[in-house]
Symmetry: C2
Subunit: 431 residues, 2 copies
Amino acid sequence: MAKAAEPPSGTRDFLADDMRRRKAAFDAVAGVFEHYGFDPLETPAFERLEVFAGKLGDEASALIFKILKRGVHEATGEADLALRYDHTVPLARVVGTYGSRLPSPYKRYAIGPVWRADRPAKGRFREFTQCDIDTVGSSSPMADAEILWAVHDGLIALGVDDFRVLVNSRQALHGLLEAYGIAEDQGTAVLGTLDKLDKLAAEDVVAELADRGLDRRTAQDLVGDVTAADTDRVRKQLDTTERGRAGLAEIDRVLELTSGLPEGRVVFTPSMVRGLDYYTGPIFEVIAEGYPGSIASGGRYDGLVAKLGGPDLPACGGSIGIERILAIQAADAEAGSGLDVALTVLGAEDTMMRMAADLRARGLRTGVYLGTSGKLGKQLKWANDNRARTVLIHGPEEQAEGVVTVRDMVSGAQSAVPVAEVAEHVRSSSA
Amino acid sequence: MAKAAEPPSGTRDFLADDMRRRKAAFDAVAGVFEHYGFDPLETPAFERLEVFAGKLGDEASALIFKILKRGVHEATGEADLALRYDHTVPLARVVGTYGSRLPSPYKRYAIGPVWRADRPAKGRFREFTQCDIDTVGSSSPMADAEILWAVHDGLIALGVDDFRVLVNSRQALHGLLEAYGIAEDQGTAVLGTLDKLDKLAAEDVVAELADRGLDRRTAQDLVGDVTAADTDRVRKQLDTTERGRAGLAEIDRVLELTSGLPEGRVVFTPSMVRGLDYYTGPIFEVIAEGYPGSIASGGRYDGLVAKLGGPDLPACGGSIGIERILAIQAADAEAGSGLDVALTVLGAEDTMMRMAADLRARGLRTGVYLGTSGKLGKQLKWANDNRARTVLIHGPEEQAEGVVTVRDMVSGAQSAVPVAEVAEHVRSSSA
């Protein structure tokens, strides 16, 4: 196959079954978010390049797809626009653009593609859908709990059921470092290492902490605390500093406000760090049986909207890893449904078009044979390729008698039905 | 407002009401196309630049948004990708990419954004949604009729009802030129002028034809034929050449195969030309009361898929001008619906979160007050801003009595309902 005939590297064409599965998933999640009173938002595929300037780190900036200036400026080779890298930068821009014309707090969800010039790999694409839900303008713990609850229900709507929501707090983590007397400037590196506890053995993490200059005994105690089955150990440590107590209070408030969720779903997990350092309050991450890594995450990020160029508003949000979930589910997915009814065409084209219209008006997905073959066998193959449940045959014999042969493609059963009654007959038998 | 805070020139942010209206429209049309047995297709936002090379005319090529090469190649100022200009070039590419793995004929629809660096103007955007339906691989007139029928039903689903589908045929138009002895090389210019009959007076069109070198008498007869109320005049002319007869047969076949549509909906309109010259067979255009210009169009374009780099397959299709329709409808649109229920928060946060969960589980769009004010008046204003139909109040008095005050925001009526019964009470009274 010529390279030009493939979609660009790292992108995908979504054909029928994929498209329907994706749309059903997006609609299911959107429906949940709507019930929580969140508004949909769609921003343009690209933003002015200056909107990104200085907002993303070097690593992210290198992944931006930039759009060349147009017309006479094209020759300069300069860019002035860039494809959406995530939904967060546009959210900050929108909050700045519309200000008080938006509801306060502004609760919005965004489900749509983003583009990153990442090296394509299995499961890593250059065009992929992000599914974000955020509340800007509320510092209430109810806002945090609501995000967690909505993400929970979103996952249920996606058919994920065996999962746990791990909860922690950035304040608690910093409080813990304080309790252990770990210097502020060492903190980020230590948290970065603790974040590996889901992949590395505890002793490897202790070793890495020691490499980073932590006293070995401290490292062992710290790792022991955050990985203990009982959170009492870490609670005792947190209780020794003001920041730790504040963090613990945040965590307990989220746990209380989500106590309506099934027992054991939401779990204080002291070892959960979340890589991104913009979180300022409660954080969460969802792990699920049968899915590698985390399938959703989020937290409070009070300074970020201002840092991204928007007004200085508190905010919290979450993201469902919908591409990851769809990828896992696709492996088990059955082929989508095909046509409800396939009409063969053996003359009487006008009759067949009207019959198709009648069937469609009754809500049935109806195809009419549009090929050139006059052979029933070939037309039945077409019907079968289109996974038709029912096939209608109105050949010369049937035409003479004013009937249609209705064939059930599963059982093979056939019956003759008068032309005028066929649409209603098929509808009622496929109900 | 700083320029950087606005969306890029020619693009729009779609906030809640717009988004919901657009999604409802897209879903309505998609639902119709699905019933006709068309498959959804979504291609990447961008294609390799070479996919466009030589496929679009100079005018269109100038409107392509090109994406700069990335990494070390960025400095060259060269582009290797381009944003989707329409859904037709990607369709041709997809038919080439997947070949026999696609159903035959391949019936697909695509509803999604395209990008053109056009000069922004009222109603003209740089990012806008195109809504296309096409059948590739069938030369049957039933395929043409099916497209027309599906577009018809799509418009009905969009709430457009007073419209007519004008039908003509490129073959008939060429046959007519033959009948008048107009040279082939003059033909395109003559058709281009005839195409203005929907905007200019007949005598102005005659004058322009004369300017283009047509004998004045011929110009008058030609314009007289195509604008006559009775199509018999033009039918007689068409009957004098082979091409004209073939064109007329095409038109009559489409009229017969769509005779199931309401009387007078589909009309042979000899003066309708369609600007684009890639059409090869039947063509159609939809005009509607209350909408300027045409709101849908299409036709058969047998050579185009090959010209665009795909295999040499016959094809026909149509397009609904959904942005134009949405723009007209937006003027009359009422504000969208808001929250079904708004929960004020005057303490008892845990109870309110559980109450919200109960309401959402019953399918109600439920918001919880997330602000900092403890004043009922401020919270009621929030509920009102969010167009809540019902407000729940569970203040200190209600808490003491274990009830919730349920306020109907339209009638102002209030009643006290026990906490445990409130969700079901609200659901049944808002059903």
